[in-house]
Symmetry: C2
Subunit: 321 residues, 2 copies
């Protein structure tokens, strides 16, 4: 058991969670006890219609894999990039998916005949990481992928802030002379530790540019060593920003760059320790002890989506009350 998730009124035994990325969907079927019954990855279609079709297909493929009928599914939760209205399930500006404005919960829910809830992918992953790691108090999930963003969970609930930008530390500038960011600013944290920015700065062919950077740095390449230092420096800056602003107790690092494993974790930890050596104040925060790394391929994002799907919205609680 990895962490119980809410049991719905229907008593159906399966909650489905889908993490919809730019190229693939990570899908899990979860029991009410939090056990992952089945998991698979499928390609994501491009454009609004194709995204909905991919989601329906993923649910059906998961049912085949897991040996259960679609009618056994209590709820479907979807984590997806872009601006998500979690109340209505509408998705805006998911640029990498070709989605401009999509009533995802409505369309997918009607076609599946199952309630669908939608959440921003990083926020869903944050919730998943909190449940999987059994975090009770406050934590941030720092997603190091193509881009950089964090989600904050306090006492088991996604913390959105006033306008949904809580945890958007990727676009804090930490160097006025730094690289230009896709957002238009200079020296954003994302330009230091985002996989996309590092790949652009490295600018050599290869399937896993950040891994290539670390390998080349270890082989003595000076430019690679500079980019490696940027990666660790940027991730450490993100951790500091999350603790010195929102003061979360723990920062859990996830996202595509976790495929770098211990090399990433040790580097970020060292950057935090080096910063603390110079500053008694930073030392008193013990930041190096407050980070952890999700294992590569962690199902946190899809699992978190399943938790989102299984969560009765507060409005419904009132109307049933």
């Amino acid at each position: 058991m990895t962490g119980a998730i809410p049991v719905g009124l229907s008593g159906r035994p399966v909650r489905v969670g889908l993490d919809v990325g730019g190229t693939k969907i990570d899908a899990v079927a979860v029991s009410p006890d939090g056990d992952i019954l089945a998991r698979l990855r499928r390609p994501t279609g491009w454009g609004e219609e194709a995204v909905v079709v991919s989601i329906i297909d993923a649910v059906d493929a998961l049912a085949v894999d897991g040996g259960f009928a679609r009618s056994a599914v209590e709820s479907v939760g979807v984590g997806i990039p872009g601006l998500v209205d979690a109340d209505t399930g509408r998705v805006l500006h998911a640029v990498n998916l070709g989605v401009e404005s999509l009533d995802l919960a409505g369309l997918a829910g009607r076609q599946l005949g199952i309630p669908v809830r939608v959440e921003n992918d990083v926020k869903a992953a944050a919730l998943g990481a909190a449940v999987l790691r059994g975090v009770d108090g406050s934590m941030a999930y720092l997603n190091l992928g193509t881009g950089v963003a964090a989600g904050i969970v306090i006492d088991g609930t996604i913390w959105r802030g006033a306008r949904g930008t809580a945890g958007e530390v990727g676009h804090l500038s930490v160097d006025p002379n730094g690289r230009l960011c896709g957002c238009g600013q200079r020296g954003c944290i994302e330009t230091f530790c985002g996989g996309g920015a590092l790949a652009r700065a490295w600018d050599r062919p290869g399937a896993l540019p950040v891994r290539d950077i670390l390998d080349a740095a270890e082989a003595g390449d000076e430019r690679a060593a500079g980019l490696r230092a940027d990666l660790f420096h940027g991730a450490a800056a993100a951790v500091r920003a999350l603790v010195l602003s929102a003061d979360v107790e723990r920062v859990i690092i996830g996202g595509g760059l976790t495929s770098l494993g211990e090399r990433l974790f040790a580097g970020v930890r060292r950057a935090l320790q080096t910063g603390a050596e110079a500053s008694p104040f930073m030392r008193s925060l013990h930041l190096d002890d407050r980070i952890e790394l999700l294992p590569a391929g962690s199902p946190a994002a899809a699992f978190g989506a399943a938790v989102v799907g299984a969560t009765t919205p507060s409005k419904e609680i009132v109307s049933h009350g």
Copy 2:
């Protein structure tokens, strides 16, 4: 009426709030309706014993000024720099006051015969600003004084975070090549917009160095213009950090530098607007519309201390339940 504060069990008509600074105490007497009945400033003594004596004296002087007896005081709240345990009222490391470790609530409470509650000064000021400005949702109070720190208030309650460092944006580094900070890091936000750091960088005699910097910049002094740009840049960086991490709805700027008035506000606003011009993402946050400036000499800090003093700790609510 500026905002009601909790009414205690005794029904006594006066709540006292004291903002204890390095050189002076700002003291207010407040009615349960939130009206300020009396206000005065007195010098602060140096050292643990002298701080307690100054507090007793300030309460007595306030009673004389306000025409009420000490027995009419329901509660005393104290905002004080340093590490404060709000549950016990103990103060640690208030360096500017010569306080290493002081049971302030216990000593002052026994000598006054009135319950005393103690809070970190910036957190108390944040609460005071929230009540005085009638902020319902989330806000940060950004204190630009000798140093730089913020306090966060959500739904009328001070938000401490996991270890009490929520809002400590003054020590986020935003320039790896920036000035050395007292904390040991380089390029902290405080090195850009803290009055102490600006005075050291300016290094010319004068009672109000930051005002002198603005005057000299307006008269064409290039070094002063650079420091003026730093001031606005640093304050804008603090606002961004607070919104992109904790996502507060509003940021209210207070502290000693508010004596600069509209020159400060217009400059910070322009820095936020300039940043937004380069970035559609930053533009979407409308940061320039989310800041406000307390008037110079605002009683927010002392008023907030009075609110702290009048707040029954949650433990007592339970024991009375």
